[in-house]
Symmetry: C2
Subunit: 141 residues, 2 copies
């Protein structure tokens, strides 16, 4: 299973960029992972394969615990899903056709986060999910 994180707009804050790069590296120890930056929502669906499991982030989506995310990963590993794609939209939200294609709409928080912060929160959750699967001491839920 491979993980892709798609998002809109290059992160401008060097601090947030360093944090998401650091988590990318950490996730890479468990799983093939890539990040793709898009200029706008229009291009996103062209990069999503029909077999990809698309998780779109939206504050009105489903709230899941860290354990819940790890169970989702385990399920897809067992089902031999090739790729899970996470998509974080820009400040204007996500186009309806992307939400329609989504296999899962995930809410990190009921609060509206700046999308660069949402990216770091998501990266930490992906990393945390693997430490839960491996029963490593990082997570104390």
């Amino acid at each position: 299973m491979k993980i892709s994180v798609f998002h809109i707009g290059k992160t401008k804050s060097q601090n947030l960029l360093n944090l998401s790069d650091d988590y990318m590296k950490r996730i890479g120890h468990y799983c093939a992972v890539e990040e793709e930056v898009f200029k706008s929502d229009d291009q996103v669906l062209k990069s999503v394969d029909s077999t990809d499991y698309l998780v779109v982030l939206d504050e009105k989506g489903k709230n899941v615990s860290s354990e819940g995310l790890s169970e989702l990963f385990l399920k897809h590993m067992n089902e031999a899903t090739k790729k899970i794609v996470f998509f974080i939209g820009g400040a204007d939200g996500v186009l309806p056709q992307i939400k329609k294609r989504a296999n899962f709409i995930l809410s990190l928080s009921k609060m509206t986060m700046m999308h660069e912060i949402a990216l770091v929160v998501l990266m930490e959750q992906i990393y945390r999910a693997f430490t839960i699967i491996r029963n490593e001491p990082y997570h104390r839920g």
Copy 2:
């Protein structure tokens, strides 16, 4: 109204430290704000005044939208509350007596975040709440 953010343990990541310092400065344009770092939960309640409105962060608490947080601030401004204290516990969670003293238990996310990340998420939400109150263009909910 003054805002205090209490948390356990100095942030070690320079990137996260820079981010929370940056939000502290931004919040300071709207409201007197201070940050206090504690070594352990034991010392926290000694620094909470009986008139303080204590908001404890816990993933099992109440989920509130960004607008909801701004309404909470407005309410306390109108009621002339002297201080709102936010408390983020360490990796081992929050002592029961602190939860008992809490006026409000707030969940940023159903997911367990590293507490230094929770600090940055909270800081951004406090900042965002003031931009909502002032009707400034930062927030597009």
